[in-house]
Symmetry: D3
Amino acid sequence: MTTQKINTLENGMKTTLPMLVTNVLRGVTQNGAPYLTISFQDNTGSIEGKWWDVKPFDEANVKQGKIGMVKVDAILYKGALQLRVHNIDFSESYNVNDFVLGSQYEPEFLKKEIEGFKNMIENSVYRSIVDKCFDFYGEDFYLYPAATKNHHDFVGGLATHVYGMCLLAVDLCKLYPILDLDLLLAGVLLHDMGKIEEYSAPILSEYTPQGKLLGHISIMQAKVYEVTCELGVRDTEEAMLLRHLILSHHGQYEYGSPVLPLVKEAEILNFIDNIDARMNMFDKIYKDLEEGTFAPRAFPLENRTFYKGKGVK
Amino acid sequence: MTTQKINTLENGMKTTLPMLVTNVLRGVTQNGAPYLTISFQDNTGSIEGKWWDVKPFDEANVKQGKIGMVKVDAILYKGALQLRVHNIDFSESYNVNDFVLGSQYEPEFLKKEIEGFKNMIENSVYRSIVDKCFDFYGEDFYLYPAATKNHHDFVGGLATHVYGMCLLAVDLCKLYPILDLDLLLAGVLLHDMGKIEEYSAPILSEYTPQGKLLGHISIMQAKVYEVTCELGVRDTEEAMLLRHLILSHHGQYEYGSPVLPLVKEAEILNFIDNIDARMNMFDKIYKDLEEGTFAPRAFPLENRTFYKGKGVK
Amino acid sequence: MTTQKINTLENGMKTTLPMLVTNVLRGVTQNGAPYLTISFQDNTGSIEGKWWDVKPFDEANVKQGKIGMVKVDAILYKGALQLRVHNIDFSESYNVNDFVLGSQYEPEFLKKEIEGFKNMIENSVYRSIVDKCFDFYGEDFYLYPAATKNHHDFVGGLATHVYGMCLLAVDLCKLYPILDLDLLLAGVLLHDMGKIEEYSAPILSEYTPQGKLLGHISIMQAKVYEVTCELGVRDTEEAMLLRHLILSHHGQYEYGSPVLPLVKEAEILNFIDNIDARMNMFDKIYKDLEEGTFAPRAFPLENRTFYKGKGVK
Amino acid sequence: MTTQKINTLENGMKTTLPMLVTNVLRGVTQNGAPYLTISFQDNTGSIEGKWWDVKPFDEANVKQGKIGMVKVDAILYKGALQLRVHNIDFSESYNVNDFVLGSQYEPEFLKKEIEGFKNMIENSVYRSIVDKCFDFYGEDFYLYPAATKNHHDFVGGLATHVYGMCLLAVDLCKLYPILDLDLLLAGVLLHDMGKIEEYSAPILSEYTPQGKLLGHISIMQAKVYEVTCELGVRDTEEAMLLRHLILSHHGQYEYGSPVLPLVKEAEILNFIDNIDARMNMFDKIYKDLEEGTFAPRAFPLENRTFYKGKGVK
Amino acid sequence: MTTQKINTLENGMKTTLPMLVTNVLRGVTQNGAPYLTISFQDNTGSIEGKWWDVKPFDEANVKQGKIGMVKVDAILYKGALQLRVHNIDFSESYNVNDFVLGSQYEPEFLKKEIEGFKNMIENSVYRSIVDKCFDFYGEDFYLYPAATKNHHDFVGGLATHVYGMCLLAVDLCKLYPILDLDLLLAGVLLHDMGKIEEYSAPILSEYTPQGKLLGHISIMQAKVYEVTCELGVRDTEEAMLLRHLILSHHGQYEYGSPVLPLVKEAEILNFIDNIDARMNMFDKIYKDLEEGTFAPRAFPLENRTFYKGKGVK
Amino acid sequence: MTTQKINTLENGMKTTLPMLVTNVLRGVTQNGAPYLTISFQDNTGSIEGKWWDVKPFDEANVKQGKIGMVKVDAILYKGALQLRVHNIDFSESYNVNDFVLGSQYEPEFLKKEIEGFKNMIENSVYRSIVDKCFDFYGEDFYLYPAATKNHHDFVGGLATHVYGMCLLAVDLCKLYPILDLDLLLAGVLLHDMGKIEEYSAPILSEYTPQGKLLGHISIMQAKVYEVTCELGVRDTEEAMLLRHLILSHHGQYEYGSPVLPLVKEAEILNFIDNIDARMNMFDKIYKDLEEGTFAPRAFPLENRTFYKGKGVK
């Protein structure tokens, strides 16, 4: 028997399926009865549910991060499916990795590919800094998302995003030989690594206090500085350029970069970052969009509403 | 005997060389003597000269667009070479094409390559529109610059820029298969074609009145509309999408796009345009820049001052 | 017996009246019962209604654009009247024109007046372009609104707005003889004509895909270009100036004009457009506003809240 | 014998003409010789002159505001006429009014017309405030300019500008009867009156300290408040509305209005002010502009460069 | 028996307590039953209540500004306490001052202190203007709030804010002797006095029409002008400087200052105003904030979300 | 015999005085003769000189940073004194410290005072971080300026600025006890320390490459991170808060802070920094300003032109 998944639910279905609780809000109806608004997720998508007349025991039991077998009715509400929850059975135990969205790539594939891009770096200063940073963050690099929402917001999102950017970097260096592949690759590999400290966890990720107070850009720049002190390359041109690429990769002051790109590879790093992130957002926007219609406004894309051509690709 | 060229002049040289006059300003010294400030150019660069105590006949004779044999002293003034002009002999006739900067590519190469990209377009509506527009502008497409200054500001600059963008477009469509190569290529090929009407000429290019009052974006959008009427494809989805790409390719209202990119290929067209233009500007900025120093502020690059790393590529 | 109209409904009334359905949203109460939120309209105004416990047959039957006899209770809810719907009878047929807001002017009057303004144009190039565009859009010019909301958002709104602007244009040309009446009138008559393609219909108007992807400014500029090709006046000064007026009439880049006004009549066209639109909005804002109070914030008037003086006009 | 005027000087002329000195800058040549750069003006225009090798006595004698008979050579320098000064004879006395630009209207005409507009105000509160303010500033109202530069920057400019705005106000109230003519006229008549304290004098006008520290908007609002206290109408609706019109007439915070227009007449006052000022600037821009060319950038018109059509009005 | 206060209510409590009604919204449930949403306040805080199934007599009786004995159940709703209202008894009469938030300082203390700061002003012009303004507004100066919300939004808030600013002003003049204490103190004492006319009342304060149409900055500047006319010091340097300080104290055009600070004391007045207001907001934000957490976004602090350190002060 | 100083030079003087060369520009006159434009400085001010007809030997000898005895004529040129240089004798040697502007405080005084503020810090984590950073930069902290121009742009400027801010910080913590003096003092002491790496030297200071590519904010944040690693306090709340204060002390993204102030002490640090810097600029602006006049526009003060009151302090 195949397990029911969120992405195959339909209006009117009465069914039972295992789901991860990603958020819980408690409410009280006008009649004073408590109810829960629960956000659920599995590896095919996410959906919201209401549990009316929830018993005190159950109310206390439902918590963010738990996985249970949920008995539901699926109904259409304001044009979107919603669940009416009747019961959640938390007795069985599940592997959380089966309930999260993941990369289109296997972790082993990403590790091998990124190892390959590291090996392309010929300059030994860049290479040693990159290696030491990868050692420091270890496995987390392949687990963390590249954002808490918007783009690459899934387990392994960070590595997936960096992989896509490495491909682009290599292509651009072929088209425009003036670019220094070593510096650009080192920048691509490290630019977002501070997110491992900016976010709380690979799954159900939130901003940590230091994420908000310092930001991944400054966290990583300081880490690279400390690494260069340890490696005895603190005052090299390479250390300075790599720190500059990390600091400037958001491209504008109002996006949190304290300096603007002032070397050509810094400018291109910002373009590569943007293109790969936006293509990932387009994947999501266009996936289920009907031809000849406009998608809902996309906040991270300057609130624009994208169109899918009719009868053309 | 080899001809003296602008890029080999040195402080203290007294020499004679053929140059194109690109600008003339008339002045009067405190003693009431007339003099000329002349901008010269050949196919290796440009330089400014002063002609003190110029005779009335000579003063009247020196005009923008003329080419003559110029007798000069080269002197260093405020850190840059300047010419003291003693005489200009306009008696011989020259081919203006020998006195302008050109593309790094031969015209024939560009034509063949761009023909190849046109052939990649499989959709017959896009293809027919593209062909008709290329027919209309003919040879001029391979003569006009892509800008009056800043990037690709040379004879053949438009075609050179479009060629660079086509290469990028094909690469990106491979990395991100969600993109429609047909639409993107059609957009790349036509997006700046209106510049042939926006600028006055391939050489010594200025904005025409309609260039200022309408702009190349609106000129080309109207041209494509008219072409689609002629071809009987006015109301096709393809016609609408292609006009949209042309209108939105500057990416922001304040850069003269009346609509923002609302289809994925429009968004990417704006990125491709930007990257290829900026790489061309980097070529010029980094070419003669000393290692470990900053270039002068670059106005079209948000007034930033770019740095060339010391001892690294 | 006179028919009940929306603008005479009062709190507590139980009545029956014919209304046009302009929007329908489906909802489900906490008890799982379906209900409808319906926007109604007649030629005196618009109002929202709730149909609780709607039957499946009725739920399916209620659709945007239909007109029916509606049985309701009017009740005050959050300071505004709302309808409790008990039944809608769609058996009778109505003329949709009796259920939409219209111009204060009769269509025949508007046609005659606008014909008169066309006749004021002495320059034959402007005149022939204007005539050909009016021929192309025909009756629609007198049916479409000038906006989907905010100002002149009713059947005939476009012609009403253009009429008001023509009056202003003639006055201004008398006060400031430096202005060219021919160009200004031609600009006024054509500036918003592209809205006939930007909007879906005279009634229940929405943006079409090409409305969003191209915009009425670019649609009309292209149309005028094509018309000038047909008329053989493509390269005249008049054609260029008229296209410039259309392109620049929003006055600023961020309002969708790809070029700023660069001729005096373009500058004045933008002022005339603004004044006539704002006076129409003031008519609506001040109509029912109590003396000594402020109106709700008006989004299209920079979110300001206008005041009506006490005891003064 | 007719007196030579500035607007009829030509390259090469050696002549003598009476002119007003509007500015003097002292300089020293490389050889240590003193010279003067003098700005001259008469009632036909203004021009700059250089007095090389000026004698100490003459150097001390030349001062802003003096009028003398000047012996000059007119020469073309950088595309504009310039004077070589040989001598200035200050022995004769002149009437300064013959050396300043003036209104196209006679003072008596302006007084009669503005008196007429005052008489149109039927509301006695507005009328009494307006009268008391006109009494207070008296003759100065007909002498001061409306700006130190840009528009209506001549003797009588303030009254000329107010007259033009009154004409427009009356026209608009006819086209849009919702407007209150009394309030609008009172606002037009008083809105810029504070400039009489903001500027130093009708001629050679500069900002006074209170002009810079307070501004004409706040100066006049306070004056009206004080006047309403004297008249015993301090707490009337009319007093409040009129003060609001004065405060908000620049239309935007960044133009120095501490409140935005919040009554319909305030909004229209801002439009009328703008239109009349811009038409005056167009008069100057288009007067000597060659057909088919663009004027120099106009700073107060958002730095735009206006075009004059070829072969059309 | 001690009276129950709002700040000691807890989830599940059934109790009776006297409260001030600060706002009433009328609603109708889906079943057509009327209910009230009431905002209550006492001198310890404020809370919202719902009165379901309210009787018509009670519904009519509950009004903003009344004080009654309220019978309630306190329940937790969406993470905040809310009241279920069962009855309100308005028969007894209360002193409104017992139901409003007040200053941490006694009125007598504030009067004595502010009197002391007035006495520090040695310049007789500043002193006489300050005295006359204090005479005019009298007791209201010690009753009005400094804002309707955000900071010092309580009875006596204006005087409390001014007192805090005087302390800062004296300190800064000691650290930076270049500052003129007389001018700065006069500016501090008068800068916000216009709020007494901008707001409707010390309690339940709203903007008056003149508050919106003129603003406290312009109201006070005009008042000072009128006072200087009465005192015969209209044209003194002191009058001009003090009016400038009032006009410029918001520091930026977009915050409603028609001129920017152009004297050093004006610049410092803006800083002092800002610091004291922000420290008051911090008091409120940090008071109940848990260590190691972020407060909700604070709109008047540029929408930032402030953090309270863990284990440090 | 007392040495001539720059601040006592007068028009017409012929004299000899020792000065530091801070800048040299080489030029050529119209006759081809070389000349030098030299910027001079001593401990009383700075002045520009021209050396006409300079000999090749002298031309080569004059260099930035050298000190010599200069023979000059002082002449008035365009309203400012300028030097005509006749000779420079570099044979004697001077102490550069006698030719630079310095603090109003003795170095020993500043050291003692700042030591005292360090001792006020009771929290041992803050204290140890501060001490280690002061150890690292050592004497340079008391030599570097706080800016290359605008404010505290002299030897010892950094320490002078920090001293002024410490005084303010202590005062504010007394007035507003909610502030944490330990955190605020630590922030004040370290906030600008990165300028020691951002600038090239205490005298004739310029931006270093890492100053431009990283900025003092990021340089110092990384340094503090590295110090906390060494001290074993990397993960303390104190380390995070102190790094946050450094990062956010410019207060806005566009001023180079990658995060906005999110703790109360960070907000106040930004205010203190601003006030002390602006008071230093006011000292310079008001020092020689004539009463009743406006100073030239001050770029770092938002381009405002400050006024000095007449007859008041």
